[in-house]
Amino acid sequence: MASLTFNGVWKRYDQVEAVKDLNLAVADGEFLCLLGPSGCGKSSSLRMIAGLEFISDGDILLDDRRINDLEPRHRDIAMVFESYALYPTKTVFENMANPLRLRKLSKDEIDRRVRETARILEIERLLNRRPSQLSGGQKQRVAIGRVLVREPQAFLFDEPIAHLDAKLRARMRGELKHIQKTLGTTTVYVTHDQLEGMSMADRMAIMREGVLQQVGTPHEVFNRPTNVWVATFVGDPPMNILNAEVQAADGGLVARAPEYTITIPAQQAAALSSARLTDNKVQIGVRPEALTLSSVRDPQHPIAGRIYAVQPLGDVEIVDVRVGDDRILVRTELGTISNEDMNAPVFLGYKPEKLYFFDAVSGQAVY
């Protein structure tokens, strides 16, 4: 096991810069999730670690060793591919034994390790099958098994569960996390699904258009996003964003839009007045679960809106509210409001300490 370090890494294709000056350290034994939408450079970064992509600029270190020029086979890193990349002509056993045979392990040792791994993954009964006889979930387990038997320096996962259905994904998230924690192997996990990052990673590194946006624990990223893009990317349903203007009032600051006026808490007001906003424009972020609803206007529910749609989800429901031209999602207890008819008037309340403020031009969060 080892640590992994990106030092000013660039990846350029003919025209496109896929990864721009990536600096990132993955600690020994850490589960790091590279998160971002498709095309953000996360896969390229992963493939550079594996040695499947040439590093245009910068260095990648495994522990303290520069691995830029090593061929994939000399890096001792294992990888699970998005397509699983099982060897179609080999049985499950041979798929898993393949990397071990190359390491010249004894026959008994190979047999022992493959069976042990198969037991952990509950695929013992599939060992004599071929990939074409497996379901998607089974293939995925075999692909993971091929990685686990090796005990390599690091695990790389490239969207390993993206092709499974929602139920199975939920279970695999738990299993992968458990396995990683059990083995303690350094892991880099690429996904576009923020839920996978939130639920499994020790830390998340969020990328957008080749640029690293933020690195932090899921808790940090969720609660203190560095910019409006990260804020809306993480969390489901996503954070609501309202456009407003900052104005001075009663010795403090307020954010004003035609439909509402929000008093900005003192601490954030101080930060906002020291941040130089263009034309005083600000974006207010508020998560659906930080909003409350009421059928009547009262001091706690000052913002007037109309119901657009209600999505019940068992014990909670997502209420889609129109405020002016903005649509705001509110996550609330079932039965909070009595009249759920379309266009019924409804009043929104918020917790001031749960508001985020972003520079409307740069998108940077102001804390």
């Binding site: 061929e71 179609p88 393949n98």
Partner: protein, 325 residues
């Protein structure tokens, strides 16, 4: 890879319910359980339509097979009397003439008695197999490189390759004849082998590229991450295109074996192949149809057998890969 024709979805994506080791038997049988034909609720008149369809297909099969039948039976008919036609309109006589005769192998024996026909057969085999092997060996490496590589001019390279394959045979024969004459290669098997390679090599590249395209590069990457070198990884995926290789070998053999123009112009007597020899029987004194049909059977039979062996890839090959089955 199986695709459900009804929904257009891929089974291995949708069929993920059961991922545990205790798979049920039905887990192994992906694909539609329902026959697509059953989806149509048969309306009135479908019975008549069914009869018409069967009749048409039946007639078409007869139209296709009758020449084969006549070729084969004629090759076993002895004398001129057996070849005589009944009076016009005498359908009963025609039936007995077509189906009742005492078979003889004299035409086949006659063919091989001259002592030359075995040599023509060998020439055909050597020219076809050699050209197929050259084409597949060079074609495999090139097809791999084209499938995996991204380089400038790839489109032009494509076009050049496929247009070579589609060049008119006679138009290619004209300069090759002059060139081979200069190199004193006329009337030799190497001339024929090279000439067949003009068409077989681009064909092999073209078809095999399609086969390599359908092998995910991630499989090679997986081998490399497992600890193989790049060359080993390439070698490891060859079994995945093996059906393609077999099909291309057969199709190259077929093309070379069935050629007439090249062999007629550049083969001479020394490198005469079966089609030329068969056509040559015609110009001999009087036309001995029995013997020509026997030669035809000898020429066609091996290809029919090979064709049936790779039936699955035949259409793909004959359409330059435009059609995959």
């Amino acid at each position: 890879m199986t695709t459900n024709p009804r929904t257009g979805t891929r089974d291995d994506v949708t069929q993920v319910q059961d991922d545990r080791a205790d798979v049920r038997g039905d887990d192994l049988l992906p694909g539609p359980a329902v026959d697509a034909r059953d989806q149509v609720v048969r309306g009135r008149g479908s019975r008549i339509a069914g009869v018409v369809i069967t009749a048409f297909l039946g007639l078409y099969v007869i139209w296709t097979l009758v020449p084969f039948y006549i070729m084969i039976t004629s090759s076993f008919k002895a004398s001129d009397a057996a070849f005589a036609l009944p009076p016009e309109g005498d359908w009963g006589g025609a039936v007995s003439q077509l189906f009742v005769f005492s078979p003889t192998t004299e035409h086949y024996r006659g063919l091989f008695a001259q002592g030359e026909f075995e040599r023509y057969f060998t020439n055909s085999v050597v020219a076809a197999v050699a050209s197929a092997v050259i084409s597949v060996v060079f074609g495999t490496t090139a097809a791999y490189a084209i499938s995996r590589g991204r380089f400038r001019g790839k489109r032009d390279l494509y076009f050049w390759i496929i247009s070579t394959r589609m060049a008119p045979v006679v138009a290619v024969t004209v300069p090759l004849y002059a060139i081979f004459k200069n190199f004193a290669l006329l009337n030799t098997l190497p001339a024929l082998i090279l000439a067949y390679t003009v068409f077989n090599l681009p064909f092999a590249i073209w078809i095999l590229k399609g086969f390599f395209d359908s092998v995910s590069y991630e499989i090679e990457e997986a081998y490399m991450v497992d600890g193989h070198s790049r060359w080993q990884a390439l070698w490891k995926i060859i079994p995945l295109v093996a059906p393609g290789l077999a099909a291309v070998v057969v199709l190259c053999i077929l093309l070379a074996w069935n050629d007439f123009i090249f062999a007629a112009v550049m083969g001479g007597e020394a490198a005469k192949t079966l089609p030329v020899a068969t056509q040559g029987l015609k110009s001999a004194s009087g036309i001995e149809w029995g013997q020509i049909m026997a030669a035809g059977v000898v020429t066609v039979a091996p290809m029919l057998l090979l064709g049936i062996v790779i039936r699955k890839y035949m259409v793909q090959g004959l359409t330059m890969g435009a059609v995959k089955q």
